[in-house]
Symmetry: C2
Subunit: 387 residues, 2 copies
């Protein structure tokens, strides 16, 4: 099979002009003799608008009914894109999640794809059609509509690519690819041509917003190359695959959205605290225990949840907090010797920037500071390590 | 079973305030110990808006893709209404056409319901839930979404009522029921308590816009009483059923949307003309043939189609036309004797109103005029016949 899967996010299909840009890209690949499957998200902010309308009716809408409501967003996108492709002279057919055979577990609003029955998709492809699939949605064992939660359309795309044994899954968005660091903050960032699934997972885990983890994990599991590229220019993007590469620093991620929380009380017991956090859907990243207090690292979003419940759940604790920065250095083989770590430490020591903690993992060095540090710190490391 | 089916049209669910009115009506019936199934249309003008968006992308969108697009309208309505009922403390579950087991033929945009697999509906009812079903939509044998065409939600409601052997199907709308004549034009119109399926079909066929024919035909076929009533007040509506009634004039319909078309040409052949009309989706109502010309009666909408193609398809014909009125008198048994016809003719003759043609059918007398006549003509007949 010569099948490729393309995924276009909400900002790529936000209006009719953008739909035409998307249609052009699809047609070029169809004309290059690929069997083309396209996964699309809901247009622009339509999912947010539907959510608002639901919350106007109820502060606690059921997840099942929210999924019925939200799934209409992608259904609108797929039909419009098919209508446009037909108008441009190409045979296209739209498929909702359930029509495309995307079966999930029963967790409404955060479902996981369990298997894909791709018979309808392959049948439509065999008739020369471009197949347009609603991302972000599926169907569970009781034939209820489910949605996949954040990044769901990326997950749909890679899952469909795996089911079809596709050559490649293209994730189009308003991001041009994966960079040596965040290009919106650092002009010196350079786009990468290629990186491995593990490198990409590390970059995402450390807080970069390019590709969603679940989609990269699926790409790795089924060995589907993932190309991240821009909808709005013709530049090459970044390909994520499993080719063995040279030992090299690939990307730096600076995360300023971390909060170090100190908790004090007479009976400090980390297990009790963890139980309380987890039962409130808060995921602690790390903790440092000592006799007098517990220090827990949280993502900023989770810290806001903690603030919300601190007066009730943690009323017996004295809680203080501060925002901190973490810089992560990611690249295949960079922890096989001391070169990268050595030059980074020398650089920061010379400049008197205090490092609170250093973690070394396979292919990843993580520097945690005990305060927010300036972007100039990352810039100096970038200049030193990425040449 | 103690099941009832309620149907609410687009104007009844147009916004959140109206949804609350609808929810109150549903709850009252649920509290009266009925198993309640609700069929809803898309909100307000949302179907029209979706159509507009489709035509902005293509002047000829495929019917299959239009159905994918339009069916999102009812899907939004069902989820919102379910969310609202849940919020008000009632168990409710929304079902799309395919989830409700509504199987249709393959005619996208004008599908006919072929059968209903009501197992999901009855299962949800057995758990005490209010079941909210998307009207106007179904699924065909290839698992594609279909829509039913005009009046589709009424048809869904009566079909579901038949499948569930419901006690009654309530059609809620902004119309209060069936009247002795059109209440928007004639203040003397009186609401009817009860009439038969055949009387209702005659009233609809003659041009009154209360209940759609297909839904009344289904009610008749499966003997489901249909109650037409207002969403916006508590008044009793009109029940349509098969009870034998007294011989009586039920309703007068004045139709001014008819056009008498004269067509002249050397080889005048009615079969040729009919073929040309039919191949252009124009349905001739009647014709009068003579040596020199053919006169065909068309609905105003069909006449506009004829105008559109007259320069091409009928370029060899000399066509002239005029709008005319028709008044229909409907009631069980009124053609069994000459009383009604006699008093009508006497009345019109005394007033010198020219009748072009009189048709007598079982339970229906039709007066066709050769020009538009004033509403005062109907008012005089109404005063004479309905007491």
């Amino acid at each position: 099979m010569n099948t490729i899967v393309l995924k276009f996010g909400g900002s790529s299909v936000a209006d009719n002009d953008k739909l035409k840009v998307v249609a052009d890209k699809i047609i070029k690949l169809k004309e290059a003799n690929y069997d083309v499957v396209v996964v699309v998200s809901a247009q622009g902010k339509s999912t947010d608008h539907l959510l608002e309308e639901a919350y106007m009716l109820s502060p606690n809408p059921s997840n099942r009914e929210l999924d019925v409501l939200l799934s209409t967003g992608e259904q609108v996108s797929i039909s419009k894109l098919s209508i446009l492709l037909n108008e441009l002279g190409y045979k296209a057919v739209s498929l909702t999640g359930w029509q495309a055979g995307i079966y999930t577990n029963n967790t409404n609003q955060d479902a996981i794809i369990e298997h894909i029955d791709s018979s309808r998709i392959t049948n439509e492809l065999s008739h020369g059609k471009i197949v347009i699939i609603a991302g972000f949605q599926g169907i569970n064992e009781t034939l209820d509509i489910t949605t996949l939660g954040r990044g769901g359309s990326d997950t749909t795309a890679v899952s469909v690519a795996a089911a079809l044994n596709a050559k490649c899954c293209y994730i189009y968005s308003d991001v041009e690819g994966v960079f040596t660091t965040d290009p919106r903050k650092f002009p010196e960032a350079v786009k990468l041509k290629e990186l491995s699934y593990d490198e990409m997972l590390d970059i995402s885990n450390e807080g970069a917003k390019v590709l969603h983890n679940r989609c990269v994990e699926l790409g790795k599991k089924f060995n589907i190359p993932i190309m991240a590229k821009s909808t709005f220019n013709e530049d090459e993007g970044t390909i994520v695959n499993n080719k063995i590469e040279v030992q090299k620093v690939k990307s730096l991620v600076k995360n300023d959205e971390l909060v170090l929380v100190q908790m004090k009380n007479n009976n400090t017991n980390i297990i009790d605290i963890y139980k309380m956090l987890i039962s409130n859907q808060i995921m602690p990243i790390e903790y440092i225990d000592n006799i007098y207090e517990i220090r827990i690292l949280l993502k900023a979003g989770d810290y806001r949840k903690l603030e919300y419940i601190s007066g009730s759940v943690f009323k017996d604790y004295h809680i203080t907090s501060k925002k901190i920065s973490r810089i992560s250095i990611i690249g295949y083989g960079i922890t096989n010797d001391t070169n990268v770590l050595g030059s980074t430490i020398n650089l920061l020591e010379a400049e008197d920037t205090k490092i609170q903690k250093i973690d070394i993992n396979n292919g990843k060095i993580r520097l945690t500071f005990n305060t927010i540090v300036g972007n100039d710190v990352l810039e100096r490391i970038h200049k030193e390590l990425i040449k």
